[in-house]
């Protein structure tokens, strides 16, 4: 290992990639919330290879100059490995005097943060937190401070295994899986593909900066986000009634949000104003996120510990994240001891998290911890419901293909039309198969029978072409999914009425907008035709498709240098960018990789209606 991490300051100016030298374990959370983390010494882990590096993200974070080619040179590779290929010296190592070469030891400590996790027996956050991750540090560029953390850097004392079995584990102990402190390259690849697609589609998410590969498919997955704090970072201290640490966490978080301009600059009148502003921001973010998850069919296991989500409603930990092709509203992930929430239950869980933040605000303001139930009628929960509904309406108008300013006009003056269309839309979206609930590989599900993307994509084209409403039989033919059985598609009087209602209310929206804007209805429908064909693309990625794609990548990866994997990811995310206003990207994939991409596309197509 070079000396960069030992003499950070000396090295700056002598090296090409100086920004990496600042990622050395230093993190403001350590000093501002001393009770919120456990610090570990760490040593360089030899034998690592860079399997992936996100050049675009690195440029955004200021780690690389904008002009840097998407090529990994030996110096950059060395920097990445020296910075991120590390393993903590944990309690087991210390107690057993595990020998470490002195020159391999990093000069500064790295923190594992404490947060609430429901799989811990303690259930109050005293023993839980980052079980196999550490925080590498922060970098600041273009007015934004980024958090960087790595998963797979060794077993900490905050892992469930350590606390359930009441012993410290050696990193890599084969007798336990999750608790051994390591992670797999495939986990990083899943996160990479999924998060880059969601990020391209403007969903908040952690992102993968680098994947370091070690032997036997193990690796370190380096992730970044402008703020990696989760609700669970607050909830542990709330559960314990630890006012001092909870206040430190809240102050730390608020400062970062203001520093990053993620919130409008605020001059808080007093503590009450400050902490209720925090609760309000959480209510806003979580109502938006819950509505978006529901409308994009994203299954994100929200639960009372607030562990699987970031404070701004961003996605973190892709282990159980899925995106469904249809509204499979009864899918539940089987986590051995219990089943997860369903996609429809996410809203209530999100609201519950908001309620907890109201409790936190009150606790921090008054110094007294009142029961959670005493906040069940708080105004911020009303705000949550109101904002959730507003987001649902906006999301639906976006799906139809209306531009932002058109959405505003419709929401302002024609809310009743929007509500009526949403009702008809929801009728079809939530229709379930008569097959009932059944087991799948990782849980249980009940199939949705209609594909709303198909009807939203085809309806404006068909209506423009025919200049007439679709007969019920044709409507069903377009909207039916591969999951639908004949009995699911029966044209009952109610269904026929709903088919007519869907088309009437859709056209009423178009008509209303045409009147307000003085635009020809045909032109609006034509615009919707174009935009809806992108937004409701036939082949949209699902959780299953990501898993299969990662299996393919794993097969070809021995011959795939990091920069080529980066290019493949970039091409794939461009193809999955459903923004109708995007500019088409240049095709830069080498010819030999076209087959791999074709393979990806056909996987996405085959899995497009699944889970």
């Amino acid at each position: 290992m070079g000396q960069a991490k030992k003499n950070t300051i000396d090295e700056i100016g002598k090296r090409t990639y100086t920004s990496f030298a600042r990622i050395n374990g230093d993190h403001p959370f350590k000093s501002q919330v001393p009770g919120g983390c456990v610090e570990y010494k760490a040593r360089h882990r030899r034998g690592g290879k860079v399997a992936f590096f996100n050049f675009d993200l690195a440029k955004e974070m200021g780690l690389l100059p904008k002009s840097h080619p998407a090529q990994l040179n030996p110096e950059l590779e060395r920097e990445i490995l020296e910075t991120f290929s590390l393993v903590i010296i944990n309690e087991y190592d210390v107690m057993n005097n595990v020998k470490v070469t002195e020159e391999d030891v990093y000069p500064k400590t790295f923190m594992a943060t404490r947060y609430l996790q429901l799989q811990h027996p303690d259930k109050s956050g005293r023993t839980s937190g980052d079980g196999r991750s550490i925080w590498n540090g922060t970098v600041r560029a273009n007015g934004i401070t980024w958090d960087i953390s790595s998963c797979g850097t060794g077993a900490t004392k905050l892992s469930p295994a350590c606390n359930i079995n009441k012993k410290f584990y050696q990193t890599g102990d084969p007798s336990i899986s999750y608790g051994c402190g390591l992670s797999e390259v495939s986990e990083g690849l899943e996160t990479l593909f999924f998060s880059e697609v969601l990020n391209k589609n403007k969903l908040r998410t952690e992102r993968i900066l680098a994947i370091i590969e070690h032997e036997k498919g193990l690796g370190i997955n380096v992730r970044a986000n402008p703020n990696l704090m989760r609700p669970s970072h607050f909830f542990g201290h709330l559960k314990q009634g630890n006012h001092a640490t909870l206040k430190q966490v809240a102050d730390y978080y608020i400062n970062r949000q203001l520093e990053n301009k993620a919130w409008p600059l605020a001059n808080f009148r007093n503590d009450k104003d400050k902490y209720f502003s925090l609760a309000r921001e959480v209510a806003r973010s979580f109502s938006e996120a819950a509505a978006r998850f529901e409308d994009e069919y994203i299954f994100c296991w929200l639960d009372w510990d607030g562990d699987n989500i970031l404070m701004d409603g961003g996605i973190i930990d892709y282990g159980s994240i899925r995106q469904f092709g249809l509204f499979h509203a009864e899918y539940r992930y089987d986590d051995v001891q219990r089943f997860s929430t369903t996609i429809l239950e996410q809203k209530q869980k999100a609201k519950y998290i908001v309620q907890c933040f109201v409790q936190i605000a009150d606790f921090l303001t008054t110094g007294k911890k009142r029961s959670l139930s005493s906040f069940r009628n708080h105004a911020l929960l009303g705000f949550f419901d109101h904002h959730f509904n507003e987001c649902k309406d906006r999301n639906l108008l976006q799906k139809i293909g209306f531009r932002k300013e058109q959405q505003e006009l419709l929401l302002k003056g024609n809310r009743s039309h929007v509500a009526k269309f949403r009702k008809a839309f929801t009728y079809f979206e939530r229709a379930k198969s008569k097959r009932g609930l059944y087991k799948v590989a990782d849980g249980v599900t009940r199939d949705a029978v209609f594909c709303m993307r198909d009807i939203l994509r085809e309806f404006p084209q068909l209506y423009l072409t025919r200049q007439a409403l679709l007969p019920a039989e044709d409507f069903i033919e377009v909207i039916r999914s591969s999951y639908a059985r004949r009995s699911d598609l029966r044209l009952t009087p109610i269904r026929c009425k709903q088919i007519a209602r869907f088309q009437d209310t859709y056209l009423a929206l178009v008509g209303a907008l045409a009147r307000v804007t003085g635009t020809d209805r045909k032109h609006l429908l034509l615009e919707l035709t174009m935009r809806a064909s992108i937004i409701n693309k036939y082949d949209r990625v699902t959780g299953d498709s990501i898993s299969f794609i990662v299996q393919k990548v794993q097969k070809v990866r021995p011959k795939l240098p990091p920069q080529e994997l980066f290019e493949l990811t970039r091409q794939f995310t461009t193809y999955q960018n459903l923004n109708p206003d995007q500019k088409r990207a240049q095709d830069t994939v080498p010819g030999r990789h076209r087959n791999i991409l074709q393979n990806f596309y056909s996987i996405v197509r085959d899995c497009r209606e699944g889970i």
């Binding site: 072409t465 035709t529 174009m530 064909s533 036939y538 995007q582 197509r605």
Partner: protein, 220 residues
């Protein structure tokens, strides 16, 4: 039979061909179907296509990717449309997709019924009897990345068509040779040029070159 073969080119380059297309179409408020060579980012191409032909007061369009499954309703509407446009792209992939979707005969029938079929670059090559021209010459060809062996295509015209032609000795040499050996008539068009077939009439728009029995001719 109503066909328009576009070589290629940007928005303003095909003005005369576009006018000829609208003339051949000869219908108020027609329905035009856009078939992309591949569904990959085809929604963007469709957007460009719609914006372009909206200038000709066409307002009814269908986007019909064929390398993804499609429903019967859309297919029926496509076959009822007044014009179908076969877009540019990889000719081998496009032909394979048309064949897999069983659309070659459907398109022939569409043309027989009086529908206007237009094609740009790869789309134009597909109207000929085979897509040999897509793999020729060596220095300017589509990659047969799908390993297509059966290159026979729609066979709507009895000549070969070469798009994006550049008037140079290099091309002259290979096309003269090809026309002699294969005994085929080749029409080679630079971007902005093309061929319009309206019943018995065959019209060349823009500068077109013909290669026949080892000789080169300049048309227009």
């Amino acid at each position: 039979m109503k066909l328009v073969l576009f070589s290629g080119g940007g928005d303003g380059e095909n003005l005369d061909l576009d006018r000829a297309f609208v003339e051949v179409l000869n219908k108020r408020n027609p329905v035009v179907t856009f078939i992309p060579s591949s569904s990959y980012l085809s929604e963007q191409e469709f957007k460009v296509f719609v914006k372009h032909y909206s200038k000709y007061r066409i307002s009814r369009f269908i986007h019909f990717p064929i390398d993804v499954p499609f429903d019967r309703i859309m297919f029926t509407e496509v076959m009822r449309s007044d014009a179908i446009h076969l877009a540019g792209g990889n000719t081998f992939y496009f032909l394979r997709s048309l064949r897999r979707a069983k659309l070659l005969n459907e398109l022939r029938r569409f043309v027989e019924r009086g529908g206007v079929l237009t094609g740009l670059s790869a789309g134009a090559i597909l109207m000929t009897s085979d897509i040999d021209m897509a793999g020729y010459p060596d220095f300017d060809r589509d990659e047969n990345s799908v390993g297509l062996k059966n290159l026979s295509s729609l066979g709507l015209v009895d000549f070969a068509f070469f798009p994006h032609f550049r008037n140079s000795t290099r091309y002259d040499t290979v096309f003269k040779k090809y026309s002699k050996v294969k005994k085929k008539l080749i029409y080679a068009c630079p971007d902005g040029a093309g061929i319009v077939i309206n019943g018995p009439e065959l019209r060349f728009i823009g500068k077109t070159f013909a290669f026949s029995e080892g000789h080169k001719f300049v048309i227009n």
